[in-house]
Amino acid sequence: MPEVFEYTWDTPTYKGKTSFNTGVHIGGKWLDGSNKTTIDIINPTNGKLITKVSEAVEADVELAVAAAQKAFDTVWGLNASGSTRSELLWSLAKTMEKHQEELAAIEALDNGKTFGWANGTDVAFSIATIKYFAGWADKVTGQTIETDEKKFSYTRHEPIGVIGQIIPWNFPLLMWSWKIGPALATGNTVVMKPSEFTPLTALRMCSIMEEAGIPDGVVNTVTGYGHIVGSAISSHMSIDKVAFTGSTLVGRKIMEAAAKSNLKTVTLELGGKSPNIIFDDADLEQAVNWTSHGIFWNHGQACCAGSRIFVQEGIYDEFLKRFVARAAEIKLGDPFEAGIDQGPQVSQIQYDRIMGYIDSGKEQGATVALGGERHGTDGYFIKPTIFTDVTTDMKIVQEEIFGPVGVVIKFKDQDDVIKQANDTLYGLASAVFSQNINLAIETGHKLKAGTVWINCANQLHAQVPFGGYKQSGIGRELGEYALHHYTNIKAVHINLRHRM
């Protein structure tokens, strides 16, 4: 039988406790993984073990798909009306609210982000996302379409069926809600693979879903490794759609597997190397603050991080001075201590990766304007790092680092910066800072990115769609647009009088 994980916090920012099962959760039941193996979940603040969780393997994915299919055919799909699904998703959001701080504490423990950020942003936004999609559940409409008076034609927007969802470790609960919200609202059932690094909030959500009244088998949770469980999901013959958020590298593999198996539909939300453009006439103080948020939010572990910072010649020196000073104020420390802004990176692997990029930046001759080294001796802490004097060919300029590392690049004018900004395989997000709205809009319209932030950065809302151009992804999450990826369009032609 799988273990129940118990934990008590007695910290300056949070006092409380939690208790939840660490098994795989299929058809409403907690089980050991079929191989009876476990995965160690490490606390990134100190490198120590938090708990073990059951490891799911291929056989567990089979069970999960069967449970999801059964739920789809009996208690979910179109057997549950839109208004029923709406009520249940609303109930889910309210139940999450009830356990808000507990969820935030689990997230901070597991991922390393501060309790303050987890509570005020991650969990709050997750609840808002579920509420938003609860509102859509009874509003999924097709069209009636005029052809001629001898025929009645209409479309139905039907749920797809069993959906595989694979989510990352940077915003575990938030990414969970972005996936579950639209999938359940439209009537699909889910096989969910949380990240093997940060599965704890997803596991806690299993009993929260039960508490909220979500029927068994609607969401099945199988924590496992990407190359085992992720792969099994992507190539499963009875899963009709897979939704993935993670690296571009893995996104390719998922799309290949989908193509080779049953041509399941694929939505991908992948990496980015998003440009953050500051014109001479920007509100400098604001630009500095947003830019700092743009790259250092979540310790730089955001797909939309504004990691290439383009500053126009005229204000370059002043901007850099203020940006470095601003970044130097960021306090690193234990996620549960008061007054801390930044915790550790999520894992040893990520720590090594980021430090590797920092080393390459130094080797390739860039200037370290700030940071560039570890913080402290325990845990995976990296100081906010700013590189200047970079060239386009440098790895730190080309590749996604996914850490608190920004590169600052000087530019001449609008044409110059648009060219440089678009010179990337990625196209997830972008930001433009200028007091001249005409300039900002024009520039924004020319950037090849799925999101353009003007005079802000990394500011999202459940109602506004999010996703990538180019190799940053396929499809959109959030907003009404998300629903399109979770419905199948059926056209019905009813012949009234046409004779053959």
Binding site: S83, E87, G135, D138, I437, A462, E480, L496
Partner: protein
């Protein structure tokens, strides 16, 4: 003067407290210039339940000013869709909490069975509020390609502004929810005039508006006579839109007043004389059940009451026999008795009206196949009545009776049935019963009604639009369509690249 009163709930040995003042800026207040009272009656006993303040035209002015201030400061574009969603959902939660009490009050004042008030009227109202709460943060406009080099064109779907809402007495709570929900979801503020016959639940709901946390002035409730408050709202120069549910005769007056004053937007949900067609292939037992529901539900006091049933000749005798036995099964009684399927009609006025129609039917030579006889004693009782052997020119066939009085006719061919069904200035609802799919398609297409039920009647859903064709109304309630009634579209043309050469 204390602006609340307690009333006894007979049969249940309890008391309810209700506010009796006008609800303006989240407070219950007296009228500024009138001592008039409105007496709310219990139609089962003919007794006064409570007396409340009757609003004057001046009170309407004050309420409109409160609504306007709220629209300009704490509501309208000053509140996010997210917050509107949260508040409407909170209101739904509170109504759910108080459902039993509200049902008792509804039954006392309107007469309908309490379990129906609680499980259907109030149950549907809660879902209606939640449905529109879900829309509040999904009001989107369009961005439109004009010229990529120089212009950004887009629309904004803005709230219209201050809305006057005038609701009827047949489903006091449910009609309140249908009006309040979409208006609030989109960001409008409201001056609500509940029916002077059934004002009590609107006042009780106003308490919940305050408890839910809506800012003062967002919803204001001014019970008053139609000729006073209704007229004042319709002709008010600072009301941007009036939404009315009630009789066609009053609907006309409202639209006239709107035209003469400030051309405020008008949506009307009016009367009906809705037909049901029973074809020979129909499941007769089911069709008879739906037809019975169509005329018996809410004691026939329903704008979509299926008050004319036309039966195909070949099945006429058989069907009418079944229909009579179904309608006979409806028990009209006190709303607090478990066995009651319908209560009394709502008032003396309605009682006299309906009985006048019944007498006119008899005088015109129609045959009374069921009912048609008055009861002894207190209460505005009308037992289900069926007339057969009708002709199209009879008053009982032409005019809306708004009671449990059904006229039954006969037709030979599909074309004849459709013609009989459409032979009315109304166009609210229609039903057809047939197992021939192509016939269902043809006939539903041909029927001139805003809602056509196929092999069903009366059942509505919050996400499906509802409203009338012809003289049954203007505009739609429910579904996403209702939002359009409370939205004003602004197109913005933002030039960022074009320099004008002047003179041209």
């Amino acid at each position: 003067m204390s602006l609340s009163t307690t009333i006894q709930v007979p049969n249940l040995n309890k008391t309810l407290t209700i506010p009796t003042g006008l609800f303006i800026n989240n407070e219950f207040v007296a009228s500024v210039d009138s001592q008039e009272l409105i007496h709310a009656y219990n139609p089962a006993t003919e007794e006064i339940i409570a007396s409340i303040v009757a609003g004057s035209a001046k009170d309407i002015d004050i309420a409109v000013a409160a609504a306007r201030k709220a629209f300009n400061t704490t509501w309208g574009k000053n509140v996010t869709g997210w917050e509107r969603s949260r508040l409407i959902n909170k209101l739904a939660d509170l109504i759910e909490r108080d459902a039993q009490e509200l049902a008792e009050l509804e039954t006392l004042n309107n007469g309908k069975p309490m379990r129906i008030a609680r499980d259907f009227d109030i149950g549907d109202s809660i879902q209606c509020l939640r449905y529109y709460a879900g829309f509040a943060d999904k009001i989107t406009g369009q961005t439109i390609e004009v010229d990529n080099k120089s212009k950004l064109a887009f629309t904004r779907h803005e709230p219209i502004g201050v809305c006057g809402q005038i609701i009827p007495w047949n489903y006091p709570i449910n009609m309140w929810a249908w009006k309040v929900a979409p208006a609030l979801a989109v960001g409008c503020t409201i001056v609500m005039k509940p029916s002077e016959i059934t004002p009590l639940t609107a006042l009780k709901l106003s308490e919940l508006i305050k408890e839910a946390g809506f800012p003062p002035g967002v919803v204001n409730t001014v019970p008053s006579l139609g000729s006073v408050g209704g007229a004042a709202l319709s002709s008010h120069l600072d009301v941007d839109k009036v939404a009315f549910t009630g009789s066609t005769v009053t609907g006309r007056r409202i639209m006239e007043a709107a035209a003469k004053s400030n051309l405020k937007k008008v949506s009307l949900e009016l009367g009906g004389k809705s037909p049901q067609l029973i074809f020979e292939s129909a499941d007769l037992d089911q069709a008879a059940s739906w037809a019975a529901l169509g005329i018996c539900y809410n004691t026939g006091q329903d704008c979509t009451a299926g008050s004319r049933v036309y039966v195909q000749e070949s099945i006429y005798d058989k069907f009418v026999e079944i229909l009579i036995s179904k309608v006979k099964a409806q028990i009209i009684g006190d709303g607090f008795q478990e066995s009651s399927g319908g209560g009394p009609v709502v008032s003396k006025g309605q009682y006299d009206r309906v009985w006048n129609y019944i007498e006119s039917g008899k005088k015109a030579g129609a045959k009374v196949a069921l009912g048609g006889e008055k009861r002894e004693g207190k209460g505005y009782w009308v037992d289900p009545t069926i007339f057969t052997d009708i002709t199209s020119d009879m008053q009982i066939v032409q005019e809306e009776i708004f009671g449990p009085v059904l006229v039954v006719g006969v037709f030979k061919t599909e074309e004849e049935g459709i013609a009989l069904a459409n032979n009315t200035t109304y166009g609210l609802g229609a039903g057809l019963h047939s197992n021939d799919a192509s016939q269902c398609m043809r006939v539903s297409s041909a029927l001139e009604a805003g809602t056509v039920w196929v092999n069903q009647y009366n059942i509505l859903n919050n996400n499906v639009p509802f409203g009338g064709k012809k003289q049954s109304g203007i505009g739609r309630e429910l579904g996403s369509y209702a939002l359009e009634e409370y939205t004003s579209v602004k197109a913005i043309h933002w030039n960022f690249g074009e320099k004008l050469e002047w003179p041209l």
